[in-house]
Subunit: 325 residues, 2 copies
């Protein structure tokens, strides 16, 4: 299950080209400096991208490439930010999208994807997970089969994500550490690939949440292992096991994963809102929480705020809670 | 009470020079495009500036100039965003600040100003208002008197504000309308001055809230008139009367003020948070609400989101309230 991504090693020019093609649709925001007293901490606010997450970069990159190759329809399996990013990219490029979703997905997310003009196909969870693994879907009779775009393990997806690393490395050549939340590994692998292509020696560190820290477990075991996943408001990251197809890329890109607590993530959501005036989802908050750990004192740290699609009720509750001193 | 601002007419180079001096401390963010269906609406997110408001531009500009002229201490009369902006600018330039405040000011705001290192001097409201009018304060014996910086009617303050108009006009030469909230008029006058200096024909429109719409009343009467001011969560704008000293500048810069309702402002706070992922205060929300009025259909509109210093309880309440369909 490698899908030709194992050798993913674009040149700086490849990544610059991808970024160039994204410029008309993404927001080019500089790193936002913070007034931290004991470290130089800057925020990469992907939370302000169209559709509220960095995934628009991958979605637009994948759709643009498929359109150039003559495709008229894309297919993906996702029920979250990636589907929104891909549908957005497809719309920009005049393509149709079929989104295969598990019947366990939140109605609000499905409605959002449908409203963007995608066709939804629901599956029992196991059947859906099989599609994620095999990339095989039964097409609709009489229709041209679409181009399958995997939300994580796909070359244009990784290339789109790598534009974030390019922007950070070009704007801040002295950065020591880039911290990104870990879901499937596409974001951190993309960033690390770009930094390496730029000749940067910055470390890429991932953040996870205690309720589903599959990477920390894999790094400790030396290979992907199955873990228990509990639910929490930090719903954009975590899985029950690191994808085998991504493991070679992850292993060469990331040496550390910081496991944050759910409380740390909630405190980070609150601090980002009240101090930095940015709304983020739990995944992004975990990266900010990790960057505030004492061990990063004195470092130059870029934090990737991956997205802002947080449930309004959860956000209101976190903001209304006064943190204990 | 004109304080030599009546003839305020900096050249484009003057404003570019001021902007140049601000660059090390402010955030240079591009206009954020929105996906509005019937108008081209873009956001100037001053809400993301240090101290959470556009006032940092005026504060830094005033402090930098005073420092260049040999001052070591600044004096102002303000209990809100301006004091924070000035104290921030003073700190950057190594100056001390005395902030004269009314004893009616919110403790939380006073604490924030004190924490930034300013000296607070409290006055009964009427005595404080007299300082705002006369700019006269009794100094501390044995200390050099400080340079008084007025929060609105002051040349470096207007110059600092004009850098916002410069950025909008340079980035978007085709803009038709710039909408900014109206407090004392410093923001809208600064923006209009810059647009005029650039040769732009964009209209500057202000937004007010129904509970204290002093400019709408003045424009209707042809001169400043006293109005009743009621309180609401939109606390950063509005007054009981337009400042006489500002009126000549206001009259030549602004022909329309849109009076928004408190409910419209609350809905705008919610929409900016949930759709655009930006936290703003009521004043900024009024400008966004005004830009969404049907009369601006088809227009190219820049909305100045002036600040983000909203009470956390108010924000949590607005986010927790589901808007009626």
């Amino acid at each position: 299950m490698s899908f030709a991504i194992e050798g993913f090693a674009p040149t700086v020019d490849d990544i610059r080209g991808a970024r160039e093609r994204l410029l008309p649709v993404i927001r080019s925001l500089p790193l936002l400096r913070t007034a931290h007293t004991d470290r130089d901490l800057r925020l990469k606010a992907e939370s302000l991208q169209p559709m509220g997450s960095f995934k628009v970069r991958a979605g637009v990159t994948a759709a643009e490439r498929a359109a150039r190759q003559g495709a008229t329809r894309l297919v993906t399996a996702s029920a979250g930010n990636f589907a929104q990013g891909l549908v957005f990219g497809a719309r920009v490029n005049g393509l149709q999208v079929d989104v295969h979703v598990p019947d366990t997905a939140a109605r609000s997310k499905l409605d959002a994807i449908r409203m963007l003009g995608a066709r939804l196909i629901e599956h029992p969870f196991d059947e859906w997970w099989a599609i994620m693994q095999s990339r095989e879907v039964s097409g609709t009779p009489g229709e041209e089969p679409g181009v399958f775009v995997h939300p994580v393990a796909d070359e244009p997806v990784l290339l789109g994500n790598s534009t974030i690393g390019l922007e950070i490395g070009e704007e801040w050549p002295d950065v020591d550490v880039v911290i990104a939340p870990f879901g499937g590994g596409g974001l951190s692998v993309g960033i690390a690939t770009a930094l390496r292509a730029l000749g940067s020696s910055a470390q890429v560190v991932t953040s996870e949440v205690e309720t589903s820290a599959a990477l920390a477990a894999a790094l400790e075991a030396g290979a992907p292992v199955a873990i228990d996943r509990r639910t929490s408001f930090v719903d954009g990251i975590g899985s029950t096991r690191v994808l085998d197809g991504m493991w070679p890329l992850i292993k060469r890109s990331i040496s550390r994963s910081i496991v944050t607590t759910v409380d740390e993530c909630a405190d980070a959501v609150r601090e980002l809102a009240l101090t930095h005036k940015l709304i983020v989802e739990g995944a992004a908050a975990s990266a900010y929480a990790a960057a505030n750990r004492p061990e990063f004192a004195g470092a130059r740290i870029a934090v990737v705020l991956s997205g802002s699609n947080i449930d309004r009720g959860v956000l209101a509750e976190i903001l209304g809670t006064v943190e204990e001193q």
